[in-house]
């Protein structure tokens, strides 16, 4: 009961904010933007690895958000809805600029190169970044959203339009691939 009151207040304030934006209130537009821009930009940057492309995606995502806000029915949280719009933009941008191919390598076919001196911390970080970047698209997206950005499986499922079970399975496979790729470092973390 104690927890439901803040949630109700939050729901009312989101509904009010959306109504004000739809009513053409420029301050409300800015408020909505300020509330969500960091989350969108962070995701865009993590997935693209390019600050300019991330800024372009964020810009495009919010233009779409404002254009389509009338279609927001409140079935998911506003932040999740915005993430789904943003992800669609990011995905299209990656595909369109062909950075997808340049940045991602088919993990099933290619071995991840392991540095000669495996125990140094910087090498581990570099190898980990390379391994995450080399994950198949679906695995990488779920891994970045869940393990890096802290989204829940429910949020990921709603944002990407997949089942929660799929999100969990992809995360599990992503982690498994990372363990394999970093096995050469064989610290205490490799638990099969």
């Amino acid at each position: 009961m104690a927890g439901s009151l803040p949630r109700l207040r939050s729901l009312v304030s989101v509904t009010d904010l959306v109504s004000r934006v739809l009513g053409g209130d420029p301050l409300a537009e800015r408020e909505l933007y300020d509330l969500h821009v960091d989350r969108v930009y962070r995701l865009a940057f993590r997935l693209t690895g390019d600050s300019e492309l991330a800024a372009d995606c964020t810009q495009e995502a919010f233009i779409r958000v404002f254009d389509r806000l009338a279609t927001f029915r409140g079935e998911a949280a506003l932040s999740t809805w915005i993430t789904s719009v943003a992800y669609s933009v990011i995905y299209n941008a990656l595909r369109k600029t062909k950075r997808f191919r340049a940045n991602s390598v088919d993990f099933e076919l290619v071995e991840i190169p392991v540095p000669a001196l495996p125990h140094g911390e910087p090498d581990l970080k570099v190898s980990l970044d390379r391994a995450v970047a080399g994950l198949p698209d679906g695995y990488r997206t779920v891994f970045v959203m869940h393990d890096v950005e802290g989204y829940t499986h429910s949020e990921i499922a709603s944002s990407l339009g997949i089942q929660e079970g799929t999100s969990k399975a992809q995360l599990s496979r992503a982690r498994s691939k990372l363990r394999q790729a970093l096995a050469a470092f064989a610290g205490g973390w490799v638990t099969q």
Binding site: Q59, F62, L124, W189
Partner: protein
């Protein structure tokens, strides 16, 4: 298949959280572009769903179109004067192109000076006006400043340098939140004074109407 069973080692998980650590979000820059695109869309042009290259060139094209339109008008007037003044003078294609370039630059110079006048007015309001309103106006002026800086036809180095300094200043003004933050105000004052912005603006903007002609 639960998360707990699959969890990465804490050390590895911690390192993974640093994957492509994002820089600070360029909020104001993104917002001004959003505003500009939405205004353009409302004005009649439809904004493509996503075209990265177009997004980069959109600002430049917009300025180019305005400059081209103005150049055509001036060319019309100029041709009229030419024809009436000296029908026998021979004109080469190179001369005509050079004339067009010069006129394009003059149009852009005129637009820049007019814009500087608007910024001067905004800075005059800075001490007494409503902060939120001023911040909102600053965002619009910031977009126009960036559009002008994107134009190759704006060649006057003094005006370009002034616009570059004003871009930074306008970002600071655009971030005023209406709560009268002294820190923000101090930063703006410092910028105004260090860069001698007010005297440079007075120098660049001719006093009174008619001070600038094409």
């Amino acid at each position: 298949m639960t998360d707990d069973r699959d969890e990465l080692d804490p050390k590895l998980a911690d390192l993974a959280r640093g994957f492509r650590e994002p820089p600070t979000t360029p909020r104001e820059e993104i917002w001004t572009h959003i505003q500009a695109q939405r205004r353009a869309a409302r004005a009649g042009g439809s904004v493509p769903v996503f075209d990265l290259e177009a997004a980069r060139r959109r600002r430049i094209r917009w300025v180019g179109a305005v400059a081209a339109l103005a150049a055509v008008l001036i060319l019309g007037v100029g041709i009229g004067r030419w024809v009436s003044a000296d029908l026998t003078r021979p004109i080469t294609a190179d001369q005509a192109a050079a004339d067009l370039d010069r006129r394009g630059e003059r149009v852009m110079h005129y637009a820049a000076v007019e814009h500087l006048g608007q910024i001067e007015a905004l800075l005059t309001d800075l001490d007494s006006g409503n902060e939120r309103e001023i911040a909102l106006n600053a965002r619009g002026l910031l977009t126009k400043t960036q559009l002008l800086l994107d134009s190759k036809r704006l060649t006057d180095p003094a005006i370009r340098a002034l616009l570059t300094d004003l871009e930074t200043l306008l970002v600071q003004v655009a971030q005023l939140d209406g709560n009268g933050s002294q820190i923000d105000r101090d930063l703006i004052d410092e910028n105004l004074s260090n860069r001698a912005i007010r005297p440079r603006l007075r120098h660049a903007v001719p006093a009174g109407p008619g001070g600038l002609t094409l």
